[in-house]
Symmetry: C2
Subunit: 161 residues, 2 copies
Amino acid sequence: MSSTSAIAIKNATDLWFKQVSRVSAIFDACTDSQLKFEIAPGRNSGFYLLGHLTAVHDAMLPLLRISDRLYPELDEPFIKNPDRSGLPCPEPATVRNQWATVTAALNKGIAALSFDEWMERHASISPDNFVNEPHRNRFSVLLSRTAHLTEHIGQLLWINK
Amino acid sequence: MSSTSAIAIKNATDLWFKQVSRVSAIFDACTDSQLKFEIAPGRNSGFYLLGHLTAVHDAMLPLLRISDRLYPELDEPFIKNPDRSGLPCPEPATVRNQWATVTAALNKGIAALSFDEWMERHASISPDNFVNEPHRNRFSVLLSRTAHLTEHIGQLLWINK
């Protein structure tokens, strides 16, 4: 592919790396008890968002066809159910480690993909259907998950410390 | 350019159009007085974010080299100063109209650019410097402003109605 195609990918992956760094810095700057507070009255806690983002990013590993998931058990407390569901839930230290592990695996996979590989299908569409829906590629996953992460960064900027 | 390049642009512009539609729907669903409330205690009002996003998107017109700005007077109350600055400020109905006008002009310009045009420089870098920093292209503006908008959508999802 031409060099401009590589630049377009660098534009998008640089933004992903930047947003992941920003949110990691927010989590790192909070104590476990600060994370447990609601960010605004009646809204999610920072801890819930840490678990939620870890689970959503973990699911990107198979969706981008990088690898199997690492922590599918996070879906029940952090995706399928809302904050304060009363479900058993791992400790903050555990989820912090899972976030770091998922981030490292995902970023390594993201950094390795070429333009042509980004334009290939993601795992939720079959090769047959992809012929008619070529926009359902890995790149759409990168952009939409960057947006998902960024939406929650907007909320996490309001965390009380 | 190849068809995959056009698809990459479609991926990114579709996300922009989607996020603009989402935030427009949030503003449309609020009365003027609902917009004036703080979204969370001590945080921005919906009205401030409406003015802020209108001003930032208005500035994208020259940054993307689409056209001159339409409403540079919005910078003073909505970018250079925070909410509740006490500065004179237009009425909500006025800013709603400005948002609609900026959105229409910007979306028309965004829809018209080809992959090669997205890979050209944005207005804040000179042609000479762009030779060595080719990632400072229009596409980087689209992605970063999509992120900026999405960060505020995360906050606007918490608006009280």
